[in-house]
Assembly symmetry: C2
Homo-oligomer: 208 residues x 2
C-alpha cells in the first residue's frame, strides 16, 4: 500500500513557484540532501538555507551568491533535458533513488506539464520520485496498486497508456481514459482505494 509516509533520500527544489504549503516546506526543511535548480537557488539561499548542490549554469544566481556558492554549482550540458531532469540524473549518479521534487509547478503551464509527465520516465529508470505541490502529491505508477486515502479525498488519475483500468474504493468508475481530464475529479470513499490495471499512469492525491 502506498501511503503518505515518504522520507526521501534527497529533495529537488525545481524552478517553479517556491512552495507555500506546509507539507512541501517541511519536506524541504527536513531534507538530508537538497539539489536546487539554479532558478530556485536565490530564494532558497535568501531564506537562510544552503543547498548541497546547485544544478544549472548558475546564471540565475545573484552575482554575490554565484561567487559564494561557485564550488557547488554543477553544470550539465544537455539540450535534451530540462533542469529538473538534470537534477534527477545528478542524484541518480550519486546513488539516490527515492526523491521528492518540490517547486515544480505554478509558473509556466508548459513547464508544469513537462515536469509532471517526466515522473513516468523517471519510473522507467527505476527511480521512485514524487512531486509534492501546494495542493497534493503526484506520483507515477505501474499496474495495480493500493493507496491510503481519507474519505472524500480528491483523486485524479491521468492515463499514460494503462489498460483495463478499474477502481475499488473510488466514487466514479475508471475506464481506459484517452484524454487527461477524464480521470480527474474522482474521490476516495474511505481509508484506501485500489486501481487495477496493466501499464502506466500518474496519480494525484490532493491534500483535501
Amino acid at each position: 500500500m502506498i501511503n503518505e509516509d515518504y522520507t526521501p533520500e534527497a529533495v529537488i527544489l525545481a524552478n517553479g513557484e517556491y512552495p507555500t504549503h506546509t507539507l512541501p516546506l517541511r519536506i524541504l526543511e527536513e531534507a538530508k540532501f537538497v539539489a536546487c535548480c539554479d532558478g530556485a537557488a536565490n530564494e532558497y539561499i535568501s531564506r537562510g538555507h544552503t543547498p548541497d548542490v546547485i544544478i544549472g549554469d548558475g546564471d540565475s544566481l545573484s552575482p554575490e551568491y554565484k561567487e559564494r556558492f561557485s564550488s557547488i554549482v554543477h553544470q550539465i550540458a544537455d539540450q535534451e533535458t530540462n533542469d529538473q531532469t538534470k537534477a534527477v540524473l545528478f542524484l541518480q549518479e550519486k546513488g539516490f533513488r527515492k526523491i521528492a521534487i518540490v517547486g515544480a509547478t505554478g509558473k509556466r503551464e508548459d513547464h508544469t506539464l513537462g515536469n509532471i509527465s517526466l515522473l513516468i520516465d523517471y519510473m522507467k529508470e527505476g527511480m521512485e520520485i514524487r512531486t509534492i505541490t501546494d495542493y497534493g502529491v503526484f506520483m507515477s505508477v505501474n499496474g495495480t496498486q493500493t493507496f491510503e486515502s481519507h474519505p472524500g479525498q480528491q483523486i485524479s488519475i491521468i492515463n499514460f497508456g494503462a489498460k483495463g483500468l478499474k477502481e475499488e474504493g473510488l466514487v466514479y468508475p475508471l475506464s481506459d481514459f484517452t484524454n487527461w481530464w477524464q480521470g480527474t475529479l474522482n474521490e476516495a470513499i474511505a481509508d484506501e482505494f485500489t486501481i487495477h490495471c496493466t501499464g502506466e499512469y500518474l496519480i494525484f492525491l490532493a491534500f483535501v
Copy 2:
C-alpha cells in the same frame, strides 16, 4: 496563419487563479459576453464587473451576491463535466463558437491539466477555443498549421496522437512524441513557424 489577433465572441472566467497578466485581463475587460464559473464570480464582481451568466450552483457566491445575481446563475447538473465545460456547453448552445478562457490554471494542478486537455475535445465539437494564461496561450490544432511568432519565442507542443510531426522555423526538431515533456521548451526562429503533421496536438505560445 494563426496569429495573436483573436477577438473572442465570449469569454469564460474559470475557477483557477484570477489572471494577473495584462493580456488575459484585457480580453476579460473587452469581452462582449462573460460567463463566470461560480468559483470565480465573487472576485470578478468585487472588482466592479457584472458577468452575463454565472455557471454553477452558486454555492461559491457570497450570500449577498447569491441573492443579487440569482437571476443569472445557471445551474447545469452533470457529474461528467467540470465547470469550465459546462460554461462552454452553455455558450455553444447560445451560438457562440469563438471563445477565450481565462483563469483556468494556477491552482490545483490536476484541474490545470484537465482544463487544458479539454481544448482537444472542444475542437472536436467544432469550437474554436483558446486558453489564455498569465504566461501564454494554449490552443488545440488539427494537422499542418502555420503560426505567427517572434524570434526567440518559447513554444511547446504537446502531442495528442498526431503523426508525422515535422517543424519548419523552430530551433529543435519535432518527432512523434509520446510523452508531454518531449515537445516543450522549443523556440521560434523568426516571424512564423509551421508544424506539419496529421492529427491533433496542443500548442503553447509563451508571451516571451
